[in-house]
């Protein structure tokens, strides 16, 4: 109890400082008074008594100082004192403080944001139970390395057999992503679906936000649906939905629950909306594991038992597969082919990510760039603190001579630097949060909202905070560490003379900043120009003013000839609409990301990989396709209305295919087909090469088939070339479709320019971010250079005054400063240009239409850098010119 009271009284003492001071003074005064009286009583005069008493006492001020130090919370008091001093000092120089805070906030914030983005897209693990045990299984039948294919070549019966008979698997399941229509009729909306096997959710270990997920045994429970959290919030605003009904693909489903908040499926960056069961009919449970009629699943996910290595599982499953074939081989595979089959086991902890594949390179490139920005930031902070430190060397010397120990000085400087760094850190959190929002919006521009849920990564923030605090501490402490205490002179020289030129490493920092800025500017220039090249590229297809409307008559229950008639009638109606130049349809839109291949070839054609390697890209199109697309027919004709199911089967190939199949000959009239009938299709036209699927690669051989001749004609995209703005015509086109058949759902409306933009989203993201960072870098570097030059001018005021007094003109002073600036920039360029070229080589794969050392971009970057440097030197130069020689010579 007593100690608590003591503690309280001591804390209270903090606030009663003035009273305590008065008490202490009074106490000692009384002591002296008493002694003085004694001595007077002994016979001395008043003054003599007083002096004697004081002599015997010792130095009053010193005693008081010592007493103060004994005070328990002396360190806290001193800390508050330092804080208050630091605050006053920073407020008095807002420019200096502002620049440091800005540098820290931007540098730390940008880094944290990019790191968080990378983490979510590239590295984060799936929000399921023990994701490190999850693997993807796929079957390969040749010795080639695993590559991305559309199906895993494992059927459901095979999956069951593997799961049942392998002791290394804790479970195996499957799923399929796709699209479904919610609601009915023309107002139907398209949503992303996740069709799963019964045991999908239980094997993965997914939580719920409401209700339950699909469980084993649900195949018997009728049509069920599970919503994703995001879809639940968007569509139903979080209202209770469990038990209510939702119409998917025309069938009512009962909503049994909502998935956990952070579960987005197995595809990071792309969340599903609704989840249903894979139809039992698709699973073909009646067939045996080796029967190829059972088809192939999209993807198989399995959970390994704890402690099982992936390679171990691969070997075991492969031998199990061969065992199954030995027991009952219903496939047409020969024993040699069976021996070459194997099961590949790939880590699934991060999920399957098309986003990852798309963005991993540019994101990593960006991380490198943003790391450079951080370095520039630290250099800036370091430089400014160093400049400040030299200005304060005198202050430190005075403090030391007044009795401050080294420890006390260091404590003061640490408090100041830490305070600044912490405020900068707080600001950087705001910057990081805002940047993430901007980045996600940039990445999802054009697409439907990506389910990208990027949270500010704590580790990133902590790391960058540590780096900046470290820099701040290191350079803030410089004056004290270099022997400012105990009478030593600071490394930055004494007060007047030696500190007029910058210490060598301060100049190094500025040069480094210049070099890094050049590299960033060059990178930004490269990416921006690549993007420009891509957007302006003539892909062979005229992209402007084309409306695309996706329809799927199959969802209305139509099939076969009915669909073909529907399309023909639709085209007739649309073609007569005012404002329409031409109309056709196409299954896979250009740059839409989807493509089909068929083993079409002429008889006798044998590519290097053998007959099995024949895989020609094909497109199913409607009449007047090439006219609508703006593609040239080099020889022969376009498709017309007579190319329907009653007419002879025809095909149009492009120039690349013509060169490939019939080098040096005229392909018109020749025939190509699949291996069953190589004379099936007659070539009636040669089309100009067009970059249909990929803007970056030159056109690949393509065969265009008239969709109306296909008995199994399926969904398609209506393509309408309009005279004016295509979207303006969209409502009328919708109306025409509804009038023709009101049950056919419209899956989406877009334009060709939009599709092209979406295809370039990766490049646009890279270019915009590189541009932002380049701009940031140059601003920071310019500010750094300006600050350092300003410091030089202030320190050299005397020298400048002297020069002017001796006859130098203002102009020569200004040019002196400018020359110093250019000198620094010049060295920066010498260092920076090779680094920039090296970066260009490193990023070669991301560029388009540019060499890695593109001279125009390099030249532009250099010019920009030099201009900024001159601009940065402007203010200090003006300061120098305004120096009044008389005033300057008189001041320190």
């Amino acid at each position: 109890m007593g100690s608590l009271r003591q503690l309280c009284s001591r804390l209270a003492g903090l606030f009663r400082r003035r009273d305590l001071e008065a008490e202490m003074a009074e106490e000692m005064r009384q002591h002296l008074e008493h002694r003085t009286q004694e001595k007077i009583a002994d016979g001395l005069s008043h003054d003599e008594a007083r002096y004697a008493a004081q002599r015997e006492f010792g130095g009053v001020a010193q005693m008081q100082e010592q007493c103060r130090d004994e005070h328990r919370f002396a360190w806290l008091e001193q800390f508050l004192q330092d804080c208050s001093y630091a605050r006053r000092m920073y407020v008095r120089s807002p420019g200096f403080t502002g620049v440091i805070l800005l540098s820290l906030a931007l540098g730390i914030g940008a880094n944290a944001a990019i790191f968080s983005l990378c983490d979510t897209v590239l590295w984060k693990m799936l929000p399921v139970a023990q994701p490190e045990q999850l693997v993807f299984l796929a079957r390969y039948s040749t010795k080639e390395a695993p590559s991305w294919r559309k199906f895993c070549e494992i059927s459901y019966p095979l999956l069951e057999a593997l799961e049942r008979r392998s002791p290394l698997l804790a479970g195996a399941t499957t799923f399929k992503v796709g699209q479904m229509t919610v609601g009915t009729g023309g107002e139907a909306e398209s949503v992303r679906s996740l069709a799963v096997a019964e045991d999908f959710y239980s094997i993965l270990g997914v939580g719920t936000s409401a209700g339950r997920t699909i469980q084993p045994g649900d195949l018997r429970s009728g049509a069920l649906a599970v919503l994703s959290h995001g879809y639940w919030q968007r569509q139903f605003a979080g209202r209770p939905v469990v038990g209510s009904s939702i119409i998917l693909n025309g069938r009512p489903h009962t909503i049994i629950g909502v998935a956990a908040r952070d579960f987005f499926g197995l595809n990071p960056g792309e969340s599903f909306d609704v989840s249903v069961l894979l139809p039992e009919a698709d699973l073909r449970l009646d067939l045996s594991p080796t029967d190829p009629k059972a088809g192939s699943l999209f993807l198989v996910v399995a959970r390994l038992k704890p402690g099982v290595a992936r390679s171990e599982a691969a070997t075991a499953l492969t031998s199990l597969l061969r065992q199954l074939h030995r027991e009952e081989n219903l496939s047409s595979l020969t024993p040699e082919a069976i021996a070459q089959q194997r099961i590949e086991v790939q880590a699934a902890s991060g999920g399957l990510s098309t986003l990852r594949a798309k963005y991993s390179q540019p994101l990593l490139a960006l991380m490198a760039l943003v790391g450079l920005v951080l370095m520039i930031t630290c250099a800036n902070v370091a430089n400014l603190l160093l400049a400040r430190a030299t200005a304060r060397s005198r202050e430190m010397a005075i403090r030391a001579s007044l009795g401050a120990g080294r420890a006390r000085l260091i404590r003061q400087l640490v408090t100041e630097s830490l305070g600044l760094a912490l405020v900068g850190g707080l600001l950087s959190i705001l910057v990081a949060q805002w940047s993430i929002d901007v980045l996600v919006r940039l990445a999802s521009s054009g697409d439907a909202p990506i389910g990208l849920h990027v949270t500010l990564d704590q580790r990133a923030l902590l790391f960058t905070l540590v780096v900046s605090v470290g820099t701040g501490l290191l350079f803030g402490l410089a004056p004290a560490l270099s022997g400012g205490g105990a009478g030593g002179t600071a490394i930055y020289g004494q007060t007047n003379r030696a500190a007029s030129t910058l210490p060598w490493f301060s100049r190094c920092l500025v040069v480094g900043q210049m070099a890094l800025s050049l590299v960033l500017l060059f990178a930004a220039g490269l990416f921006v120009r690549s993007l420009q090249n891509l957007t302006q590229l003539d892909s062979g297809i005229r992209r402007d003013n084309v409306l695309l409307v996706a329809v799927d008559p199959q969802r209305a229950g139509m099939s076969g000839p009915v669909v073909a008639d529907f399309y023909q009638e639709l085209l007739t109606r649309i073609a007569t609409m005012p404002g329409v130049v031409a109309a056709t349809f196409e299954r896979n839109i250009p740059l839409g990301g989807a493509s089909t291949r068929r083993p079409l070839a002429p008889a006798g054609y044998l590519p290097p990989g053998g007959e099995a390697a024949i895989a020609t890209a094909t497109e199913e199109v409607g009449p007047r396709y090439f006219e609508t697309m703006g593609m040239r027919i080099v020889a022969g004709r376009d498709f017309g209305a007579r190319d329907d199911r009653n007419g002879p089967k025809v095909v149009v190939i492009n120039e690349a295919a013509a060169r490939d199949f019939f080098p040096g000959q005229n392909p018109l009239g020749r025939r190509i087909g699949q291996s069953s009938n190589r004379a099936e299709l007659e070539i009636v036209g040669i089309a100009q090469d067009a970059r249909h699927d990929n803007l970056r690669a030159p056109a690949q051989p393509m065969a265009y088939l008239p969709a109306l001749q296909d008995a199994r004609i399926r969904d398609t995209n209506i393509v309408v070339r309009t005279a004016g703005d295509p979207l303006a015509l969209a409502p009328q086109v919708r109306q025409v479709i509804r009038d023709t058949n009101s049950r056919v759902p419209i899956m989406g409306v877009t334009t060709l320019t939009e599709t092209a933009a979406r295809a370039l989203v990766q490049e646009r993201l890279t270019a915009s971010l590189a541009g932002v960072f380049g701009g940031l870098a140059i601003v920071l570097a310019g500010v750094g250079l300006g600050g350092v030059l300003l410091f030089t001018v202030t320190r050299r005021t005397r020298e400048i005054g002297l020069r002017m007094a001796l006859g130098a003109t203002r102009g020569s002073v200004v040019s002196m400063i400018m020359r110093e600036s250019l000198h620094l920039v010049g060295i920066g360029l010498l260092v920076g240009v090779p680094c920039a070229i090296a970066l260009g080589h490193g990023a070669e794969k991301l560029l388009f239409g540019l060499t890695p050392a593109d001279p125009i971009t390099l030249g532009l970057a250099v010019i920009l850098l030099v201009s900024v440097a001159l601009l940065a030197a402007f203010w200090p130069a003006r300061r120098a010119a305004k120096v009044d020689p008389m005033v300057a010579l008189r001041t320190e």
């Binding site: 000692m28 009384q30 002591h31 130095g59 007493c67 130090d69």
Partner: protein, 108 residues
């Protein structure tokens, strides 16, 4: 006899001992110490105060302002319970130390 310099740290113990007798103000303590040592201890008058403040911070003594002989308020120090314990401990330690040192000096 020339004044002997005080060993560091023993000043605390001496002050505690003086205060064990009863409460006292700063210069009273100095007087008492002088008396007891017959003025052979070299003690700067003011140097008692840092020690007093230190011991007060440690909780061995407590202070209060009370009217003194000339009717003005003076700061009186007194021993706390913790101070008494500290005094005992230091006394023991000192006795042991002085015994050991004396022994060595005699035996060597």
């Amino acid at each position: 006899m020339s004044k002997i310099d005080l060993l560091q740290g023993t000043l605390d113990m001496l002050i505690l001992r003086v205060l064990a007798r009863g409460e006292m103000h700063g210069w009273g303590i100095v007087d008492r110490l002088g008396q007891l040592s017959k003025n052979s201890l070299k003690l700067g008058e003011g140097s008692v105060y840092p020690a007093l403040y230190r011991m007060e911070a440690k909780g061995w003594i407590k202070a209060k302002w009370a009217p003194s002989d000339n009717n003005r308020n003076a700061k009186y120090y007194s021993l706390t319970k913790a101070g008494r314990k500290q005094l005992e401990a230091e006394q023991q330690g000192w006795d042991q130390l002085s015994t050991i040192i004396t022994e060595i000096m005699q035996k060597a």
